[in-house]
Amino acid sequence: MKKIIATLILLVFTFYTYNTIKGFRFGHDFLNAKTNNKKISQKIEPAGKHYLENNKLENNASNVVTSIVVSYRGFDTLGEVTVLFLAATGLGVILTLTKKEDDDENENDSSEGEPSLIVKTASRILFPLIFIFGAYVFIHGHLTPGGGFQGGTIIASAYLMMFLSYSNFKINHSIFKSIESMSGLTFISIGLVGLIGFGIFLKLNLIPMGVFNTLFSAGLIPIVYIIVGFKVGSELTAVVDSYRENW
């Protein structure tokens, strides 16, 4: 019964979606297409085109996606960081063991599920490498594909590997928490500096823009991305840690 209803619903949904998509022109070059529609009172170019063309002037970052994420739509990114922060916090709240349940599962047989020595050794070697790779990704966020989120995730994956190979691997919670908070505070502080100095929140061209397509370019974008990288890395690690500790 449920299956039939679901199928029917999806069929109707597909029908209308199909009809809508039919109206799209896939791969159409809308950025450079000329509109001669007289209905619009003021003609404004597509935002994407504006970003592509003015990016070098305004942000001096060779990766346009990065400059959109961090600079043009930096407010979104602030929200995004907040969402991750929220998820980590909420996870901590939900997974915190209440004392009653604590007594039931008090068996600490750590030796049985322990991985083999090869795994342990390999992960010990790989850990700094992955860590550095993550750092590389977020430091070069304005030059190459990648950035704070990606780099942070890679770092978290390094910690995940350590959690998997060492069942008693522990991280220092207060340090991670402080990193999380400090990086968040720094992000907002950068925004507030712009507000105090120029009356513009999240103004990122406060420092010299540097030479295009080099590490020291794009104003504050790399710095913000480094902060984001730290934040995402510590948050995701905390998430993974919460799962591991409270399962």
Partner: protein
């Protein structure tokens, strides 16, 4: 210089990130941070109101990152936003006062989530960018998911699970809608989309509209998609429930209509559909509330009904109706603030489980809060000359003049149903036969003060006619901001 309006968002965010550090220094400090933040926001929003009054009431925008509107994200602040901001910060302040020493094993994370929830709602109200709105919607809902599960017992986890399930669907629909509308207009700025919306083929526009409508209807608690609401309201901690009912819904309703009115320039067919949804929501909510035994669940259904009423009012699309809807938003926020906080205060005093019958005869022990709760119920029912009546008058007259006589009759019918269960509740708390429950009586000032302040607000709105007349003026201007698309566009994009 109104760029400091961004502090409405930046400061709570700053405070939320600061809380873990503060908690490391002293475990007791974090609980005062929400009070500081909401107090600051209250002052700031009053300041903005004064600014707006001094500048002919023309709404202004705040550019973030210094980019000109269609290319950067901007905030849009007018009377409507300020009314909602004041509501958010005032109710938030009251609830944070109430929350001190309330949440069991109160930890810093609760206050972080609390502040971020308020921040998300604030962002929803003032943002001028469609995708940014989505981000704030997600901030709001994710903090709401976590706060719902905060008690960590079976009920709250269950509620949180349902909320997440439906909320994810909502975000998916919103995202699809935003994608389609972006593809058709190549912009995400609300004003810019609105400027281009007439060039979009009708089929695609309507598809996008229905996607956004579904997604936002879920958040705005409209009928067929509000299954999560009663559970979430019942299971979450009472201060959080109060925020859901008083603030979050109001902000989502605002977003709902901002999208319909401004982004899509919705026409009468859409508005009739929405009005139908509102009517069904109103009826189902009120009728379902009739046989509830749990007080919070009853209030939850009542909130659903009130949402229906507000939606009916705003979807009438006349300035009077929209103004009435906004007025009812304010009223309902205050009434539900009193009702949730007051009943929670009573329930904690009798150590009950939240059943209505637990509160039998409580009025003899707690006369002040019982009186205020009854008073707010009477005001909520729209007994003249209290404030609920004027809002209802505005709503009814506008719905009537838009030619929906039957809907007026249905609204009145729903109010009668509402009166039945609310008065039954009053009858229970004033029942003098005997008190079955043990009662531990200590007047807690931090609990009674918010309730009393809320009640004073009702009296202020009801009794001072000069204030009322001026207030109506502001309401009409706020309504105009919501309905007048061309002025929105010209303010954001420049003429």
């Amino acid at each position: 210089m109104v760029d400091y309006a961004i502090l409405l968002i930046a400061l709570p965010l700053f405070a939320a990130f600061l809380i873990p550090l503060v908690a490391m220094v002293n475990k007791n400090w974090p609980k005062y941070i929400p009070i500081l933040v909401t107090a600051f926001n209250s002052v700031l929003s009053i300041n903005l109101l004064l600014y707006l009054n001094a500048h002919n009431g023309t709404p202004f925008i705040v550019k973030i990152g210094g980019f000109i509107p269609p290319f950067g994200i901007n905030l849009f602040i007018g009377y409507l936003a300020i009314i909602l901001l004041m509501l958010i910060s005032f109710v938030g302040l009251m609830i944070s006062l109430y929350t001190i020493n309330t949440v069991k094993d109160a930890e810093s994370r609760y206050y972080m989530l609390f502040i971020l929830l308020l921040m998300g709602v604030t962002g929803l109200v003032i943002t001028g960018d469609l995708f940014n709105m989505f981000v704030f919607l997600e901030i709001t809902s994710i903090s709401a998911y976590s706060l719902t599960a905060y008690k960590r017992d079976g009920l709250s986890l269950e509620a949180s699970m349902k909320y997440i399930l439906i909320g994810s669907l909502a975000s998916v629909f919103v995202l699809i809608g935003i994608g389609v509308i972006y593809y058709s207009t190549h912009t995400l700025n609300i004003a810019d989309i609105s400027n281009h919306i007439n060039t979009v083929p009708k089929y695609i526009k309507m598809f996008s509209l229905s996607m956004l409508l579904i997604g936002l209807a879920i958040e705005a608690e409209l009928f067929p998609v509000n299954g999560w609401v009663p559970d979430v309201y019942q299971a979450s901690p009472t201060p959080v429930t109060t925020i859901f009912s008083s603030i979050v819904v109001k902000a989502t309703i605002y977003v709902f209509f901002r999208v319909l009115f401004t982004v899509f320039r919705a026409d009468l067919t859409v508005m009739n559909f929405v009005m139908g949804l509102g009517v069904i929501t109103l009826l189902i909510g009120e009728i379902s509330a009739l046989k509830q035994v749990n007080i919070k669940r009853m209030l939850a259904y009542s909130s659903i009904g009130q949402v229906g009423l507000i939606v009916i009012a705003i979807s009438s699309y006349s300035s009077m109706g929209v103004a009435g809807g906004i007025y009812q938003m304010i009223n309902h926020a205050i009434f539900k603030g009193i009702l949730f906080l007051g009943t929670a205060y009573m329930i904690t005093s009798v150590s009950g489980t939240g059943k209505i019958s637990d509160l039998k005869g409580i009025a003899q022990k707690m006369p002040i809060s019982s009186f205020i709760v009854s008073f707010s119920i009477i005001a909520l029912l729209g007994v003249p000359p209290l404030t609920g009546f004027w809002a209802k008058m505005m709503i009814l007259s506008s719905v009537m003049s838009s030619g929906h006589q039957i809907i007026v009759a249905l609204i009145l019918f729903a109010t009668v149903v509402e009166a039945v269960y609310y008065l039954k509740f009053i009858a229970v708390i004033y029942d003098s036969s005997e008190i079955t429950n043990s009662f531990k009586s200590t007047i807690k000032f931090n609990k009674i003060v918010p309730i009393v302040l809320f009640a004073l607000t009702i009296i202020l709105f009801s009794v001072v006619p000069q204030f009322l007349v001026k207030f109506q003026d502001v309401l009409l201007k706020a309504a105009n901001e919501l309905t007048n698309v061309s002025s929105y566009i010209s303010i954001v994009l420049g003429s």
